[in-house]
Subunit: 351 residues, 2 copies
DNA sequence: CCGTTCAACATGAACGTTAATGTCCGGCCA
DNA sequence: TGGCCGGACATTAACGTTCATGTTGAACGG
């Protein structure tokens, strides 16, 4: 069944066993024509018998394509990215691509090494969530002709295709909904990272406030410090948001609503509010971001912005497939998918 | 800087530019001796100038090792597996291995294709969470000499190394803690999958009950139906647990405590209890499993079993590295890491 | 019956790298 | 001074495929 020493069977083994040329065996197995039906059957039978598995490195070396997607993600423990991984992996697999995963953990150094690694392994294409600490590492990918799609965070300097969530719209919808529910003063709780995702959400918040003619006094946007690198790839920590929320609650005048940058922050906020004896939504409304699996089951259930993770992942994979195929698609170069507001009890104030 | 047509520079390009042989360039860049210092400097400078990136497929083809870990996971949206991905990817990267990720989504067919795919790409080794629908797909890996480590779920028929959580102990500790807190009748809420993880937890539950001399009437173990394959790789759904919990609450006699198979189930249970006007922990205690990031911030905060995800991932990677290196390690073949109970308010009954 | 055609296969080269030998030449020692 | 050694490089082969191009032999038409 297998050769001595655990070595794998090759085309040559099969060819020798059947007194055929290597090429004939190759063509027979890959289904190309110019091979007699009886020969093909013979080859297939022998390949089956010895458990032949093609060596994709050898194949890739000659074809030039490794049939591999490189996926570069900041943090798999972020549920949004976890879903992206799933949907991209599925799409890749459906098209016979493998997935080479690299985690950057928001580190520029890791990002540079990731780009280098993708180049070495000659991936067919790359889907990248950039750290946004500079475009250099990813510029090289495009320079040597590796199709690259940016995911969730854009680097406009490079002309790459991009698909992500419309965070500006998400921030706008969250804030507009709070306003519609009667909030006049609103505080935003956002992570302290210099990425467009967050800046866009805040922009949406400002737009909603401005449209409603509401003011945004100093301290309306509160930053939750990021504690990455303490351990490997932590998920967001509600604890940090909890402490920031406690600072907020010491203020003289409380806001009517808090818009959180993600559902974990809302969770920390819930605790701080409970400790202060404040009721959600009557004393203060809370809106999350991300619609994490737990959010519907909090008490009160959390109004939040649902992200189109699956759709974004699928589009990213499709964009990459198109670019690999070489056909210029009809799709726009940059694509923003609208998130949807999920209204739940944390904003259901009795009027 | 780069060649026309986006093609990559090769050793041959550098050799031609410097009037050297390809081999000399190779040895100069890979740091082997037998190369003059001035030549080496020249080669390095030229490689740097043209932005040379080695082709790892060609290298792998001749060395026989692809410097790649194959990681096969059932569902990245499971926070436990997400953390495993992170820690394994980190460990792999530290040792210059890349990570080839495949998602099986609890499907035996996907699993078989995953094994095939790992064989094709000649991974240096594989870390696998088996679906446990049969050992056949993974048997082949070992047969052709691919070092394989089983993760979290064992397949005892194969003689592979295994590292996972001691779920029996976890189930025992959760149950014993409930008993210590005064519970006499306890119901277990478990997912409806035929995997050892779950069976072990239930065994631990039974052991704790037996040791305490408590009975386990019919209906003590309730199964939450799995709804995978509705969408791609869903995280666990509290909704299913919620419905099962409602069935439980219709019973004549309520248990003193419920031990949930994961924290999401506890979440669904919380809602069902709240709707019935039951207070945790005074009317009923709840213990979760997994210590998901949200669990500490529920109200009441959830007593749960913390899984050693990071440690398990690191050990899995280390086991694989050892096996790849060929050295028989001093470690036991099968390794179970003890989870720890995290006591919180959901079992803090006022005595 | 001969030239043409085409199916069915074989042969040789190539992909980019590493590993095993070869070759040259300068310097060392007896 | 002759033989030998070893450093510094070159040459050749190999990894397992695929692709482009040969080569055979039989069938076929005029």
């Amino acid at each position: 069944m297998r050769r001595a020493g655990g070595r794998r069977h090759t085309l040559r083994d099969i060819a020798a066993a059947l007194n055929l040329s290597v090429n004939t065996v190759s063509r027979a197995l890959s289904g190309k024509d110019g091979i007699g039906e009886k020969t093909r059957a013979l080859v297939r039978a022998e390949a089956e018998r010895v458990g032949y598995v093609p060596n994709s490195m050898a194949r890739s070396l000659v074809t030039g394509s490794a049939m591999t997607f490189g996926l570069v993600i900041t943090n798999p423990s972020n549920p949004f990215y976890a879903q992206l991984i799933s949907s991209i992996e599925l799409r890749a697999r459906e098209h016979d691509y493998s997935l080479l995963l690299t985690v950057t953990d928001e580190s520029a150094e890791n990002e540079a090494r990731a780009a280098e690694s993708l180049l070495r392994s000659s991936v067919s294409g790359a889907i990248v969530v950039p750290v946004q600490a500079g475009a250099d590492p990813w510029q090289r990918l495009g320079a040597v002709g590796v199709p690259t799609v940016l995911l969730n965070r854009d680097l406009p300097d490079l002309g790459y295709r991009f698909v992500g969530t419309d965070n500006e719209l998400g921030g706008y919808r969250a804030t507009a909904h709070a306003i519609a529910c009667g909030a006049r003063s609103i505080v935003v709780l956002e992570e302290d990272l210099p990425i467009t995702t967050i800046a866009d959400r805040i922009a949406g918040y400002r737009r909603a406030m401005t449209e409603a003619g509401l003011s945004m006094p100093r301290g309306s946007v509160m930053r939750v410090p990021t504690r990455r690198h303490d351990q490997a790839a932590l998920p967001w920590q509600p604890q940090q948001a909890y402490q920031v929320a406690r600072r907020m609650l010491r203020r003289a005048r409380l806001p009517d609503a808090v818009v959180a940058g993600n559902d974990y922050f809302a969770l920390g906020l819930y605790r701080a509010l409970a400790e202060h004896g404040l009721k959600v939504p009557d004393d203060l409304m809370v809106i999350g971001f991300g619609d994490h699996p737990f959010s519907a089951f909090l008490s009160p259930s959390l109004t939040t912005v649902r992200l189109p993770a699956e759709e974004v992942g699928e589009i990213a994979a499709d964009l990459l497939l198109e670019e690999i195929a070489g056909g210029r698609s009809a799709r726009p170069l940059k694509q923003l998918i609208a998130p949807t507001l999920v209204e739940r009890d944390s904003t259901a104030r009795k009027r």
